[in-house]
């Protein structure tokens, strides 16, 4: 059996780099996985599936130790043991971290391991996945790729396929997400018939830099930073009297947006994050990246000045519906990480639970997929799909400026529309108009043109394919948000401001049936934690 890793960018460029603050696990003797699980359930506003959350939280401690043994440079406490920092929505300090580059450190150490096992893992770096290969029985047997370096299109056969393509933040503008987060995996699985779940649940991170929307880690608040409005009030006292700045993200983002909307923000539309209360020595060793972000992107010294911030699109709780082994609706196809929805985050993800989700369910997917692969022969597969993909790409390249709009224009309009209408506060009128825009853009995308007709590193044509991915997924996000007529987690409907467990304690699944997006429901798994009123 062999393993191939295919990535449209070099793996160390991946967006897991951007996870700054840390990774949660109940590893301390006085902590318990049940406590971690309860915090996660409550954070999810009871939409998370409790069986899956139990799997994630109970396996978390072992995973941290595994990473530590592989070489992740987790920071220590004064005794030389793994150190922790506080994080939002958590009842104990259980976030393990490497300064504020935790994701980068984990990603780089895992890449070190790939280099170590260079002879066992085939790496296809800078190969773009255009479609999944599905056979006549509906099984996933591989994928069709374009080698970005030379434009060659190849069909990769595989006994099992795991999607780990990350999120969809580029649907929004601005976003904390990298340019590569274009919903590729979600769209390919959705087109192949897999169900998407919880798509309406879009996380706005409470602290993104005003202007360009760069992420300022929740670790800053974990280390003690405060939020202030223009009147100098520490406004979280009103919204979350117990947890203050460390309430869960949906709560803090809504509080900030309310302050801004009601005229208590600064004239530039921000509120302030004040890190100066954290000792300078601690800032340098634990929040180094944020010092650099402040210096390079905002022109401020965060050890002396407050940071102008606002809520910004950050994460999609929804994704391809999977079981706890990462298996999707499509045999042979797995998904793990932000691309997937197990669902462990439900309506709102806790900070430092995303790296954990990725690692736990990535590992489980790998084990399950390997087990299946060992028991079967390499499937035969038709080469027709290669021709389809080649035709599709040639058709994009053949379009001219007289046919329609630029791909980049359509992407910009999509991003602005989503950020305007499908954000922290939503209502039916805004959502309906967003759906209209998305549908119009889907039509316009069919004739959108590009400039580059080359084969070597043609990033332009990839952009056109990514736009298609994003528009399909944007439609499901808006549909889910229209469908859910209540306020829960990250979905706040001003026209339905209350949580309604009686009617809406259920997942919204969206599936493509005969080319039409179709809504279905699935139950939320509740084991030991009954829904309660949620306060912080």
């Amino acid at each position: 059996m062999t393993v191939g890793i295919i990535s449209k960018i070099h793996p160390v460029r991946s967006h897991s780099n951007a996870a700054q603050g840390g990774i949660n696990a109940a590893l301390n003797p006085d902590d318990s996985w049940e406590s971690h699980a309860y915090d996660t359930v409550k954070g999810s506003d009871y939409l998370g599936d409790q069986d899956a959350i139990a799997v994630m939280c109970s396996e978390a401690p072992e995973e941290i130790l595994h990473l530590e043994h592989l070489g992740v440079t987790f920071h220590r406490n004064e005794e030389g043991l793994l150190g922790t920092r506080a994080f939002g929505g958590a009842s104990a300090a259980r976030t393990y971290y490497v300064a504020d580059i935790t994701g980068q450190a984990i990603l780089h150490v895992l890449y070190e391991q790939m280099l170590k096992y260079d002879d066992k893992i085939d790496r296809y770096e800078e190969w773009f996945t255009v479609a999944l290969a599905i056979d006549e029985n509906g099984r996933c047997n591989g994928a069709v790729m374009r080698n970005i370096r030379d434009g060659v299109i190849e069909l990769f056969r595989a006994k099992t396929v795991i999607l780990a393509t990350g999120g969809s933040g580029q649907i929004y503008k601005p976003t904390t997400n990298a340019l590569v987060c274009t919903a590729d995996g979600q769209a390919m699985a959705y087109r192949a018939g897999a169900a998407l779940m919880d798509m309406e649940m879009i996380q706005y991170h409470p602290t993104t830099l005003l202007g360009n929307g760069l992420l300022i880690t929740e670790g800053a608040r974990g280390e003690g930073a405060h939020l202030y409005n223009a009147a100098g009030e520490r406004f979280m006292e009103k919204y979350a009297p117990n947890k203050l700045e460390l309430a869960s993200r949906d709560v803090v983002s809504r509080a900030e947006q309310t302050e801004i909307n009601e005229g208590r923000g600064f004239p530039d539309g921000s509120v302030h994050l004040d890190v100066t209360v954290v000792p300078k020595k601690r800032i340098h060793e634990a929040l180094r990246e944020i010092v650099m972000v402040g210096r390079d992107f905002a022109g401020i010294d965060i050890t002396k000045d407050p940071i102008p911030i606002r809520p910004g699109q950050h994460y999609i709780m929804g994704g391809i519906k999977t079981d706890v082994d990462g298996l999707t609706d499509i045999p042979g196809l797995y998904a793990a990480g932000e691309v997937a929805c197990v669902s462990v985050h439900g309506g709102n993800r806790l900070g430092a639970n995303s790296l954990l989700d990725t690692l736990i369910f990535g590992k489980r997917s790998g084990h399950h997929a390997a087990g299946v692969a060992k028991s079967m022969n390499m499937p035969k597969i038709s080469a027709k799909q290669v021709d389809d993909v080649r035709d599709e790409i040639n058709a994009i390249m053949a379009r001219s400026a007289s046919d329609g709009r630029r791909v980049s224009e359509i992407k910009a309009e999509l991003g602005e529309t989503m950020n305007d209408k499908v954000a922290v506060y939503r209502d039916e009128e805004g959502l309906n108009s967003a759906l209209e825009v998305v549908k119009r853009l889907q039509e316009e995308a069919k004739t959108a043109y590009i400039d580059d007709r080359g084969t070597i590193f043609n990033q332009d044509v990839l952009g056109a394919i990514e736009l298609g991915y994003m528009l399909d997924i944007a439609e499901t996000i808006v549909m889910g948000a229209i469908e859910r007529k209540e306020s829960r987690g990250a979905q706040f409907r001003t026209d339905y401001p209350e949580r309604n467990d009686e009617e809406w304690l259920k997942h919204i699944d969206i599936k493509l049936k005969d080319g039409t997006p179709t809504i279905e429901y699935s139950p939320v798994t509740i084991t030991q934690w009954q829904p309660q009123e949620r306060t912080y």
């Binding site: 967006h15 043991l81 070190e112 170590k116 990298a178 340098h284 390079d296």
Partner: protein, 371 residues
């Protein structure tokens, strides 16, 4: 809104045309990054402009380019700063990084150079035996220390303008050496001596760095690759007495003992002391070849006046020998080497304030000796 002129180095291998410059005008606020301007040109004028980019936050390491001849990330270089270094005061030149083959426009082949060198340093943790039941117990400071090299985003900016690599393409280079320190500085790694010996004995390794500071100056993440190379050297020589292929160990020892004895650098003694044990001492056989190869340097030194003939014979001792002895005594009396690390001591200004005065004086003395 101000207007910026980008002058982008274009190259498409398919076109059959040679590389050339192409100008794009972009209207944009000066606090926006150069990458935004490049993407604006790509989105509105020419979608074929090739540049790798992703996070736009200086964390993914994709968008290393040369801006006005200096290597940098396009995403964290602001337009107003870029125009300030423009050769004609107005046009921002953007070209691909150096020392690596160009694939298209601003995209270079990092696999052929950078990643090959990273693989060269055995870039994974090699612990002794089976892992413990819980975590490895290691000092807090050690993990904070290696975080500086973990912070490397492999953007290639230091590789682009590494002088040693330009002369010796086989040089392991700044980023890969920083990666090596990430393991040498990690108390969990059990292969420290092997790693150091490997890099010291490689003629393209540790002692192939010419100490030019370029990588320290251009690194967008404060990794200070050259400083990591110097720390590797100190570990190799100080802790393991490793005699390297390039004679760096003896060269350094010669510096230290000459300054200790004379107070200033006795240029005429440096070369012979580096290769043997003084002019009249026994010549180290391994070093003979290099000494002979260095003969022109010695002759040039005399001819250029850097080492006047009289000084070859007579070198003044600094008058206050006690002060020098005190500096050496203080440094030798320390249990640990004091290492500069941004994560531990903060910015340069903080670092200077944190350093005690005698340590500073010692640093100055050593630096002076090398100039």
């Amino acid at each position: 809104m101000p207007n910026y002129v980008l002058n982008i180095r274009r190259f498409s291998p398919e076109s059959g045309e040679p590389a050339h410059w192409e100008k794009f005008e972009v209207e944009m606020e000066g606090h926006r990054p150069v990458l935004d301007a490049i993407l604006h040109a790509r989105n509105t004028e020419d979608g074929s402009i090739g540049i790798r980019c992703s996070c736009q936050a200086a964390i993914c390491g994709s968008c290393g380019v040369r801006i006005n001849g200096n290597p940098a990330l396009a995403c964290n270089t602001l337009l107003r700063d870029a125009v300030a270094t423009a050769k004609d005061g107005a046009t921002i030149d953007i070209e691909p990084m150096g020392n690596m083959p160009v694939i298209k426009d601003l995209i270079v082949d990092m696999d052929a150079v950078h990643w090959k060198k990273v693989q060269r340093v055995v870039p994974w943790l090699i612990p002794a035996g089976e892992p413990p039941e819980r975590e490895y117990v290691v000092p807090h400071e050690a993990m904070v220390d290696v975080t500086q090299t973990m912070a490397c985003i492999h953007c290639g900016v230091c590789v682009s303008d590494c002088l040693s690599m330009e002369v010796d393409p086989e040089f392991v280079g700044p980023a890969a050496h920083a990666k090596a320190y990430r393991f040498v500085g990690d108390p969990r790694d059990a292969a420290t001596e092997t790693r150091l010996r490997d890099l010291a004995e490689d003629p393209h390794g540790l002692y192939d760095c010419t100490h030019c500071f370029k990588c320290v100056e251009v690194c967008p993440k404060g990794v200070s690759p050259m400083n990591q190379i110097m720390r590797l050297r100190r570990r190799a020589t100080g802790d393991f007495k490793i005699k390297d292929a390039n004679n760096g160990y003896r060269h350094e020892k010669a510096f230290v003992s000459i300054i200790e004895k004379w107070g200033t650098l006795h240029e005429a003694k440096l070369l012979p002391d580096s290769y043997g044990e003084g002019i009249f001492g026994k010549l180290n056989p391994e070093a003979q070849k290099q000494l002979i190869a260095s003969a022109p340097t010695a002759v040039r030194g005399v001819l250029s006046g850097k080492v006047p003939p009289l000084k070859v014979i007579h070198h003044h001792k600094l008058p206050d020998q006690k002060k020098i002895k005190d500096i050496y005594k203080k440094i030798h009396g320390r249990d640990d080497r004091i290492e500069l690390n941004l994560y531990i001591v903060g910015e340069d200004a903080d670092a200077l304030a944190a350093e005690s005065a005698p340590a500073e004086a010692a640093a100055t003395a050593a630096d002076g000796g090398e100039s």
